[in-house]
Symmetry: C2
Subunit: 292 residues, 2 copies
């Protein structure tokens, strides 16, 4: 599998200044709230969801610039979700991307409000872009539904803690918790390109669903075999918290095989789009090969 560091790097170079400028443009944000938001958003991050939005836009024949607002909005939602997930009443994590979590660097109230504000600003980003109102409306639908589903997934995850979950239940958690936003990234990118062809959208949705699960299975695998320094969070945390994971349910080797199978299924779903879909395929390769 070739690793598309160049494409991902290009996306990172593209979205970083967009995010910086977007946050800087929200004047009237008082410190420490604005500082906490910058800390949560500009502090590294692989920008996988923005890259998926860009790649899907290109796969549908759009200009990559048209996906800026989709890429930015989905990353704002992702960053907000990390800030809230890390809060003491949720996962209670001290470390994120190798540095203190937002509520550790600031305080709980500021982290809560930074997350709340980032979610709202994601919709500002979509609704205020230069795209047609029809496209913007579709993107708001896609992101809003995904954002709601993501929170549902987090609730399912918390409810399942310490319980013996079936594979079906584990999959339901991840389809909501990480899958929904990955699907939205791809669909919003397609929308940015003006794609309304139902067959193409169905293929992309299938790709995104498979990739979202592959991503999560691989994430669970990395928690077993990865190292803390590369991950930027404590490896082995899932086992410590007795969390249901794919390796715990299936065994490590079967989980690794499942990730590869889902990756292959994802790629099969979009093969018929031809070379325009190369960036999506590269990203799928990367997500199941990454070591952090």
């Amino acid at each position: 599998m070739s690793v598309p560091t160049h494409f991902l790097h290009d996306c990172q170079m593209r979205i970083q200044p967009w995010l910086e400028q977007f946050l800087a443009a929200q004047n009237g944000l008082a410190k420490p709230l604005s500082a906490a938001m910058r800390y949560a958003v500009l502090n590294g991050g692989k920008r996988i969801r923005p890259a998926l939005a860009y790649a899907a836009c290109v796969a549908c024949g759009g200009h990559i610039n048209d996906a800026n607002s989709a890429a930015g909005a989905v990353e704002l939602v992702h960053c907000y979700s990390l800030v809230h997930d890390d809060l003491p009443c949720m996962d209670d994590d001290d470390l994120r991307r190798g540095v203190p979590t937002c509520h550790k660097a600031f305080d709980e109230a500021t982290a809560l409000l930074a997350g709340d504000t980032l979610q709202a600003l994601a919709f500002v980003a979509l609704a205020c872009s230069h795209l047609d109102d029809t496209i913007k409306t579709r993107q708001v639908q896609q992101l809003a539904l995904a954002s709601a589903n993501m929170a549902v997934g987090q609730a399912l995850d918390l409810a399942g803690e310490g319980k013996q979950l079936s594979l079906h239940e584990l999959e339901a958690i991840h389809r909501h918790k990480t899958g929904a936003l990955i699907r939205a990234s791809v669909l919003m990118g397609a929308s940015a390109a003006g794609c309304t062809d139902e067959q193409t959208l169905a293929s992309l949705e299938n790709f995104a669903d498979k990739l979202g699960l592959a991503f999560q299975v691989h994430d669970d695998v990395l928690d077993v075999i990865g190292d803390t320094q590369k991950l930027g969070k404590h490896a082995g945390a899932d086992a410590e918290h007795a969390k249901a994971t794919y390796p715990a349910l299936l065994g490590l080797q079967t989980a690794q095989q499942l990730a590869v199978q889902l990756h292959d299924d994802a790629i099969s779903a979009i093969k018929h789009l031809g070379c325009r879909a190369n960036a999506l395929i590269w990203l799928a390769d990367f997500l199941v090969a990454r070591d952090h």
Copy 2:
């Protein structure tokens, strides 16, 4: 001042089933999350913001039904903000509308996620309505900016706690914390009617800004002179927490006069709209006459 209990009551009767049906339609919401959301949204509430959206729609010559999604969305955001504001890391309140706050009735994580989900669903409500995409896009802009500003206001409020604030600083807090959403209610209602006339929108914005402040000044006054049972929250809480309030800064009588003055200014701003604006005027009367 006549009190428009009939108009407000009509709005309550209109938005309650809308909210019930909207929440019921979000299938896939697992308990206890869905229960917490219903608890936070369907549990009383005066529905002032929905009423403002309906009244503004009518004032602009629209059909009241066209404001359903605006009314519902703004109430969802309002309810989410109450849930988050009550959390232990924020105002740490046990009582809301006379019953235990959401995190007391459920738990902190569920309350946090219920708020997060409600914010996302507000944008689902707007983006999935039957209105034109141009109107929906405008409403998403209006609500998303207001929602972000509301969180900013909460941050300003927390930062100001225990400090001696100037009247100017106190006003800045309220313009964000409560004013932004009241302005959005009115503007989203106007948008629902398809209003794009700049003079009308400027008048409505002026009305909403004055009314938003009048509302807050009156709220501060009620915290001094109201009784706990009617308020559904502890009267005197502001003084206990040494919060900056209008009565604390201006004295009770001057604060009461300010509320009346702001109310009169609000009404002057929309007088030229004629009898179509009656419902807005009734609501302004009610908001500065209410005892809870």
